[in-house]
Every structure is written in structure tokens, then in C-alpha cells.
């Protein structure tokens, strides 16, 4: 029943698809291929492999895991750096006074502008891409973590003082958990940013990956390929976000519960 209702809410999606199909077939513009053509091309590019490999093609197996691997490597690295620095800044007013302008500046730099720089520093490859991703997405994590660590309930801190918690116990059992909702907000934002930076870093300096496939399709005027790659990237973004939301809901169940009652 709930499933049917959920389906009912999606009624516009097939309508849009059909309208799109009809319009593109009528227009016959090579720049706007019909969805069926795009789907066929996507099937050919990624999903026409042998059954024992889940129908994935060589190209899919080469490019998708590579891209996703870089994305996660960058995201995790940025997560560690951002949380560590952020908590330090959040807990030390003095440190944050010195570092704050640098953070504001760093976050204002449009990350793609650094691509040529990282390209020169690391040359084409995973290193350069991960560096770009980390630099681009560390800021929301850092700012959110420092915000979360700064605004720990005073009573919680006093409780840990009174019961004599050591510095590390206070950090791991009080400050970090209480900053966790904020940290997760930062991580979620940076996950979608990571996808963007993954794509652009692959467009500029890579010999494999989904972004490279996109560039390849564009160079060979393979418009269904370009559209198809964009769809794949959209699906990837959707999946990443959904998986993250599920994880967040599990980890932060206490937060939702606590906020419902107060």
C-alpha cells in the first residue's frame, strides 16, 4: 500500500520521460537524442557485459570503481583532516583567532582554479585528483566540525569535569558525539561536492574514470554517450546521498530521539 502510494507520487516522472521522448523524436535535433537512444547507448557502454560479471562491460568495470575509489579516498581523507582541524579550532578560541582568516580564504578559492596547480605538482593521476577533491571539500567539514565542537552544552562539559574524565575521554565521549550531528551535516555536503570535483578533475587530468568517459564522448561528438554519462553520474550522486542518509539516520538516532522530546 505504502509502496503504491510512493509510486503514485512518481507519476510525473514517466510523463516527463514520454514527453521528452516525443519532443526529441519530433525535433530530430542531434544535440537532444531521445531517452530511448540514450538508454540504448548507456546499455552498450556499461551494461552489455557477460552475465557472470553482472552484465557490466569492461569499460564499466574499469571506470566506475576507479572514479568511486578516488571519490571515497578524497572524502575520507578530507573527513579526517576536517574533523581533526575543526575540533581543534572549535575547542581553542585562541587558535581559531589565528587561523580563521586562512580558513575563510581557503574556502573562498574556487577549487577548480587549483587544478593546474595540482596538475603541475602531482602530474596526471590519482594523487592529483585526490588532492583536488580534498582541498575542495575539506571546508564544509572543517567549519561544521568546529561549529559543533564550539557549541557543546556547558552542562555536558561540567558533568565531565565533575566526574573527572580525562582529556581524551572528554574528547571521545562528550565533545565528538555532541558535535556529531554537525559533522555529519558537513560530511553530507562534502560528499556531493566530492562528486563534482571528481568529475572535473577527471575532465581535466585523467586517462580513466567516468569523467574521462564523458570527455571522450564529448570529443567524439557522441551525444547519446554524453547524455548517458551525465545520467550515470546523476544516479551515482543519488545513490551516494541515499546511502549516506541511511548511515546518518543510524548513527544519529539518538539525536532525532532527543530532539523529538524536548
Amino acid at each position: 500500500m505504502r509502496f503504491l502510494r510512493a509510486l503514485g507520487r512518481l507519476w510525473l516522472v514517466p510523463v516527463v520521460l514520454v514527453a521528452w521522448e516525443a519532443a526529441t523524436r519530433l525535433a530530430e535535433d542531434i544535440f537532444f537524442p531521445p531517452p530511448t537512444t540514450i538508454a540504448a547507448r548507456m546499455h552498450e557502454m556499461w551494461f552489455s557485459g557477460p552475465a557472470e560479471r553482472l552484465w557490466l562491460t569492461d569499460a564499466a568495470l574499469e571506470n566506475i570503481p576507479t572514479s568511486v575509489g578516488r571519490l571515497f579516498a578524497g572524502w575520507l581523507l578530507a573527513g579526517v583532516i576536517g574533523v581533526v582541524l575543526g575540533v581543534m579550532l572549535g575547542r581553542s578560541a585562541l587558535l581559531s583567532r589565528f587561523i580563521d582568516p586562512l580558513v575563510q580564504f581557503g574556502r573562498a578559492i574556487p577549487p577548480p582554479a587549483l587544478l593546474p596547480f595540482f596538475l603541475a605538482l602531482f602530474s596526471v593521476g590519482a594523487q592529483m585528483q585526490i588532492a583536488t577533491i580534498v582541498f575542495g571539500i575539506v571546508w564544509p567539514i572543517l567549519l561544521n566540525s568546529s561549529d559543533g565542537a564550539r557549541h557543546v552544552d556547558r552542562q555536558h562539559l561540567e558533568t565531565s569535569t565533575v566526574f573527572g574524565l580525562s582529556r581524551s575521554q572528554r574528547l571521545f565521549w562528550v565533545i565528538l558525539p555532541s558535535a556529531m550531528p554537525k559533522i555529519f551535516a558537513g560530511l553530507r555536503l562534502s560528499l556531493s561536492l566530492a562528486l563534482i570535483l571528481m568529475v572535473i578533475s577527471e575532465l581535466v587530468g585523467s586517462v580513466n574514470g567516468i569523467g574521462f568517459q564523458l570527455l571522450d564522448a564529448q570529443r567524439s561528438y557522441d551525444l547519446p554517450g554524453v547524455w548517458g554519462t551525465i545520467v550515470v553520474l546523476g544516479v551515482l550522486g543519488y545513490l551516494l546521498n541515499s546511502v549516506f542518509l541511511v548511515a546518518e539516520r543510524r548513527v544519529l538516532s539518538w539525536h532525532r530521539g532527543a530532539n523529538r522530546t524536548t
Partner: protein
């Protein structure tokens, strides 16, 4: 054991400054249970926070076991007035109670055992696996009492610990406090609004004047035999003491001259 002399505290500065404590002198012996009563907003929590080392008073000294209190002393536990914010919502009730035991070097099973025992004492045996926000206000308050009990401090500070529990539970917790004190030789400082309660549980009742708070009265409670909710409360000595404390507190409210 605890010695407070000429303790003053002023919040803020300039024209908006608030004189919360106006020179408090108080001595508490080892194993004593002292109740502190006083009008709302007079500075009871402020006094408790300076004893706990959470607040640096602007004047006077607090010494605990001969040593001046500068940082939060070891072997001290607090049951905070704002119980809901003093429990950690990201931990289960059992973990909340067990957390402070980590620094006592207890291993995991022993921590768990101590937590279960303390929760049983406050009548929450089954709640260890729940989260604080799944409990009622009174239950949360009992959890924070259990946490302090499990910690086995030498000095326990309780800030209106029975404020939001029902009458029956309140009586049980009062008796629990008395038992704990005699079993573990704890020194307890208990802040309350309830005059009956202060006389029933206290060895002494200290009445504070309204802000800036000073000690307006210090009565020794001499009641015969072990205390009992029914018989003690009908004892003439109890009735008499209650009236005396009541007069002191009331005097605070009606006649400002008393406090000065």
C-alpha cells in the same frame, strides 16, 4: 572535611553586576548530611558550583580535606539541578552511569555491574539499555542520582535532586540517600526547596538568606532513632524543627532586614 569561609561571588561587573553570594561561612564534618534551603534565586547553585570547582568565586575560600579547591576535586560527584542536560543523550542510560567509572580503572564487566547495581537502587533496574530521552523527567533525574551513587564519591553535592519525581518516589529516594550515607560514609550536601525534606534527611539544615546570600540560620537536627517516613514526621521534635526552619525561610521573604 569541607570548610567554606567568607565566600562571595559577583556575576558580571559594572552597574549590572549581581551579588549572588555575600560572605558565606560553613563547616561540614566528615560523614555529615547537610541540607541547604533558601529562596529561589538566592545563590544555592552558585554556592554548589564554587564548591565543585566549576566556578571561581570572586572572594573567600573553599577548602576540602585541608586543601583549597582550585580545580574540581577528585572524589566528588554532583547531581545537577538541570538533570536533563547533564545526561548524555548519545549514550544509553547504563553507559551514562558507567562512564565516570572508567577513570577508576574498572574493567568493563565491573563497570557494568556497578551501573546495574546503582540503577537498581534508584528503582530503574530495567532501564539500562534505554536512552535518557526515552525516560520521563523523574526517571532521568534518578539516572543522574544513580550515576553519582555508582561513582562512590567522598563528597556528594545534590542540587534539588528530587525536584521532579512523584511523592512516593521522592520518599524512597530520601530514604535511599540516608542509607547510602550511612553505608558508604559519604558526606552529602543537599540543596532543596522543601522544608520538610530538609529536616527529614538532614543532620543539619542551613538556611540561606536571599541574594546576596549569607547563612541566616544553621540548625542541628536531633531526631531519635532511625528515620522513618511516617513516625519521624509525626515526632514533635520534627514538627518543631520544621516550624523553625519555616520561620527562618519565611522571614527571609517578608522582612528584608533579616538578611542584612
Amino acid at each position: 572535611m569541607l570548610e567554606i569561609s567568607n565566600l562571595t561571588h559577583v556575576y558580571g561587573g559594572g552597574p549590572g553586576a549581581h551579588h549572588a553570594l555575600g560572605g558565606i561561612d560553613l563547616k561540614v564534618a566528615q560523614g555529615e548530611l547537610v541540607c541547604i534551603v533558601g529562596p529561589s534565586g538566592c545563590g544555592k547553585s552558585t554556592l554548589l558550583r564554587s564548591i565543585a570547582g566549576l566556578l571561581r568565586p570572586t572572594g573567600g575560600t573553599v577548602t576540602l580535606g585541608g586543601k583549597p579547591v582550585e580545580r574540581t576535586p577528585d572524589d566528588l560527584a554532583v547531581v545537577f539541578q538541570d538533570y536533563s542536560r547533564s545526561l548524555f543523550p548519545w549514550m544509553s542510560v547504563g553507559d551514562n552511569v558507567a562512564l565516570p567509572l572508567r577513570r577508576k580503572g574498572m574493567d568493563r564487566p565491573r563497570r557494568r555491574e556497578a551501573a546495574t547495581e546503582a540503577l537498581e537502587q534508584v528503582g530503574l533496574a530495567g532501564a539500562a539499555g534505554k536512552y535518557p530521552w526515552q525516560l520521563s523527567g523523574g526517571m532521568q533525574q534518578r539516572v543522574s542520582i544513580a550515576r553519582a551513587l555508582a561513582y562512590r564519591p567522598a563528597l556528594m553535592l545534590m542540587d534539588e535532586p528530587f525536584g521532579s519525581v512523584d511523592a512516593q518516589t521522592r520518599e524512597d529516594l530520601e530514604d535511599l540517600t540516608l542509607r547510602v550515607r550511612s553505608h558508604h560514609d559519604m558526606t552529602i550536601l543537599l540543596i532543596t526547596h522543601d522544608i520538610d525534606e530538609s529536616v527529614y534527611v538532614g543532620d543539619r539544615v542551613v538556611v540561606l538568606s536571599k541574594a546576596p546570600a549569607t547563612v541566616a540560620g544553621d540548625l542541628r537536627v536531633d531526631l531519635p532513632g532511625p528515620r522513618d517516613q511516617i513516625t519521624t514526621r509525626e515526632n514533635p521534635a520534627f514538627v518543631h524543627l520544621r516550624a523553625e526552619v519555616g520561620r527562618l525561610v519565611r522571614g527571609m521573604r517578608n522582612d528584608p532586614a533579616v538578611s542584612s
